[in-house]
């Protein structure tokens, strides 16, 4: 059987040129890992955009996802705080179960 451990999933929509900074923040709180996905476009209070990949990444956003335990989540959010407004980040947190193989648990 598998075991499940409760975790937080933090998803951050960030402009591509700022991804490097976000990665440094995640490394600063010793996040276990993260995964990055592209987006195609969107719309918000600052207008509509398309990921054109030409205009220097200023017109391109990615989703940065990291799955963390509660403590690290708090550290990350705290470290992110000054960036949320400055970088115009869209940050959400939700509950997930991380699935592990049983033997792994024992190991």
């Amino acid at each position: 059987m598998v075991t499940k451990s409760p975790r937080k999933k933090i998803e951050i929509l960030v402009d591509t040129p700022l991804l490097r900074r976000l990665r440094e923040v995640a490394e600063g709180v010793e996040a276990d890992g993260y995964t990055v996905q592209r987006t195609q476009g969107g719309e918000g209070s600052r207008g509509r955009w398309f990921d054109d990949q030409v205009t220097g990444g200023a017109g391109s956003k990615v989703v940065f996802t990291t799955i963390l335990d509660d403590a690290t989540t708090d550290h990350l959010l705290q470290a992110l705080e000054p960036l949320i407004d400055e970088y115009g980040l869209l940050v959400t947190v939700s509950d997930v179960d991380l699935v592990r193989a049983q033997k792994d648990q024992a190991g």
Binding site: R46, D52, V54, T55, G56
Partner: protein
């Protein structure tokens, strides 16, 4: 006038019309990126090979100095006007000003093509001038944003590093150097891709830029009539200054026009990326719309022929 019927311009117009009509025509983004990387590579190589052939001349030195000085002074003037007439706060005014001090590689390439087709090819070293003019305005822009106060040394250096290592700057400079090293002979086997194919691929890219630019202006939020006006006045004024300076330092008509195009054009590749990092509070929608969706189409359709006429008068 007849340059308006060159395929390059016609494809740009086709793209813009399609986007305005809300056609679902769209290039896959990786193709846009691939084309822009290709064009920078090709233009860099070409510049390097031309300079390898002619050596470093006094003209090159004069043009480079002129370009550098222009790219440092233009943002200062633009900043003042954007603050007063344009009614922007100092962060946004500085960010926009930096775009106008820097240059648009694609505008330069289109102009270069049109001038060459009209029998007035600009000197090859103008590609080196293009590369030199990409980044200094970014630094000037940041000083302006900080009200003349310098930045903290550390973050300044980091930004400098990231700006100089911007993909487009590296590719343009790197290809230029490769062109210098391999020279005309070494270029031959790769010329079918980087020279023979250039014009046709430029058409495809400008079709795409027409789509991108028109789509951006359709969805722009923060544009005011005053700012749109400035985005047309800036290139006219800066282009005229470029012509005057080019004529003064003794450049030929094609090369003078090229300098005018560099002065008149506004960056939408290297500078937006740098501003997003350095002045994240500035409105990216604003500076991209002005440089890409107003000034760029203006230069492509009206500006380039205009500066050519001016240069003919002055030189």
């Amino acid at each position: 006038m007849e340059t308006l019927f060159s395929p390059v311009i016609l494809f740009f117009v086709l793209g813009a019309l399609a986007a305005f009509a809300r056609s679902d025509l769209a290039f896959p983004e990786p193709m846009s990126k691939a084309l822009s990387l290709y064009l920078m590579c090709a233009i860099g190589l070409k510049g390097g090979i031309l300079v390898a052939g002619n050596g470093f001349t006094i003209d090159l030195l004069l043009a480079a100095t002129a370009g550098l000085v222009l790219s440092c002074l233009i943002p200062v003037g633009a900043f003042a006007v954007l603050r007063s007439f344009g009614r922007l706060d100092s962060t946004n005014a500085a960010a926009v000003a930096a775009h106008y001090g820097s240059v648009s590689v694609v505008t330069f390439i289109a102009g270069n093509q049109i001038l060459t087709d009209s029998g007035m090819p600009p000197a090859g070293y103008m590609i080196a001038v293009l590369a030199l003019m990409e980044t200094p305005a970014i630094i000037v822009g940041l000083f302006l944003a900080r009200g003349g106060n310098g930045m903290k040394m550390q973050s300044g250096q980091e930004l400098m590093r990231e700006t100089l290592l911007n993909g487009s700057v590296v590719l343009l400079t790197g290809s230029f150097i490769i062109g210098l090293v391999i020279g005309k002979e070494g270029f031959e086997p790769i010329a079918p891709v980087f020279e023979t194919g250039f014009n046709g691929l430029l058409c495809l890219f400008l079709l795409d830029m027409g789509l991108i630019a028109a789509r951006r202006i359709s969805h722009a939020r923060s544009l005011t009539a005053r700012l749109v006006l400035l985005a047309i006045i800036f290139p006219i004024v800066n282009g005229t200054i470029g012509c005057i300076v080019g004529a003064m330092i003794g450049l030929d008509v094609g090369t003078t026009t090229a300098l005018a195009i560099l002065a008149a054009s506004a960056s939408y590749i290297a500078v937006p990326a740098a501003m997003r990092l350095a002045l994240p509070k500035a409105d990216a929608g604003l500076y991209l719309s002005l440089s890409l969706a107003v000034t760029f189409p203006f230069n492509i359709t009206i500006g380039i022929p205009l500066y050519t006429q001016l240069a003919k008068l002055m030189v």
